[in-house]
Assembly symmetry: none
Homo-oligomer: 234 residues x 2
DNA sequence: ACTCCTATTTTTAGTCT
DNA sequence: GAGACTAAAAATAGGAG
């Protein structure tokens, strides 16, 4: 048995609305923000819960773009556009047939694959080649292991590197930053605490779906952590 | 005053779940279906309510693809990928700045050149890998901090960190990146490669390629939900 | 535009068919 | 898998700061 008092209502609460174009500019903007955040959150949850890979792109009427992608926008669009079958997961359902794919446009599949492979190779070269140097420099900032190593004597001095080395270094570094940033964004989205536009965006990749030749792609598939998000206010 | 009888509950109703990978295959599939539908519905509602243009791509773990797009998948991806500016629309909200759109030039890297470069890189990879192995071996012998290159996916488990830790990590990284970027810029200037003041040091954070464009945002949706949808089982 | 609030609507986890 | 059902969880409209 519960006795319910007739308390005065503080707000009228949520109201049902019809799903039709909102005419009021302000409420349209507010709704856009709220629901956009809602969709990104749902997308992130879907990817975590079900191991699904998801991309969401939203254009506001003002033409501003917002997107979310796991493991990254780049990866999903690559898969989608190229018709490449994404890697199956171990606990995959058996008896899966080839995915029905919707080729977005004509493009050169071989070219895309070559580019992707090339970028991967480049990345590996850059990472491995600059490994020790990179670690040294980063350790200086991040701190951590204070052991001394054999390579510490050769002080990693940025001045000692040539332009190309520094550039490689920078590219690898940017890649790491992307991974961490992506993970950070995803965590915030899952957290529901995301403040759109407040954080540095994940650099997206140049890609053409319909044009004959593809991008030089700084491809760099966002990495295994994914979940990139960027946007710029409504 | 309301008297509530203690009726026997027919089901236990919805239960709270943690947002983490679902281990049970069946419930994962069911959840995938339900939530996927939920996201598509939300996307459609967003586009109707706010006149937004939206695309959603979902890959199941089985590699099957599902997507929704308004006005169409192709349109959204074209806009997103190419940076083409869609026609403006009267309905457009004021105050749109149509900011620095990055031209998508630089796209027609020649296929042959890409292949050739790929071969070159492949050759280098072998030797660089060898060098890396040696370094690792030496590191192992030296002992102490037995971590591998910290930025390798295996050695830094971002999933194991909480939001604050990742944020800290990110800040530190960004710091390093800035230093390297500054050095890079300086070198290029010294090199004569770059005219002083010509460009900001590192585009990283500004390197978005698909910058805001005007949407045509035509809301003359055929039905309540425009957009296309297709998909075929999990 | 963003945060906080709360009443209400909407979604969905679990179960059965 | 796909539907139907229920009750609890989550999202959100509207208002205030």
């Amino acid at each position: 048995m519960v006795l319910l008092k007739n308390l005065p209502k503080k707000t009228q609460g949520r109201k049902r609305i019809e799903i039709k174009k909102l005419e009021n500019l302000n409420s349209k903007q507010v709704t856009f923000s709220k629901r956009r955040a809602g969709i990104f959150k749902k997308a992130a949850e879907l990817s975590v819960l079900c191991g699904a890979d998801v991309a969401v792109i939203v254009f506001s009427t003002a033409g501003k773009v917002f997107c979310y992608g796991h493991p990254s926008m780049d990866t999903i669009l690559d898969w989608y556009c190229s018709g490449v079958t994404p890697p199956a997961v171990s606990d995959d359902t058996a008896g899966d047939q080839s995915p029905n794919r919707v080729p977005v446009a004509e493009f050169n599949k071989d070219y895309m694959e070559a580019i992707r492979e090339l970028e991967e190779q480049k990345k590996r070269v850059a990472e491995v080649k600059e490994a020790a140097k990179m670690k040294k420099v980063v350790m200086g900032v991040v701190g951590g292991c204070d052991e001394r190593f054999w390579w510490e004597d050769e002080s990693v001095d940025l001045d000692a590197l040539d332009v190309q080395e520094v550039e490689h270094y920078l590219i690898a570094l940017e890649d790491v930053r992307k991974k961490v940033a992506a993970r950070f964004h995803e965590m915030k989205i899952l957290n529901g605490t995301l403040n759109p536009g407040a954080l540095p965006p994940i650099p997206a990749v140049h890609r053409l779906c319909h044009l004959p030749m593809m991008t030089n792609g700084f491809s760099g598939h966002g990495g295994q952590f994914g979940g990139g998000y960027h946007g710029f206010g409504i």
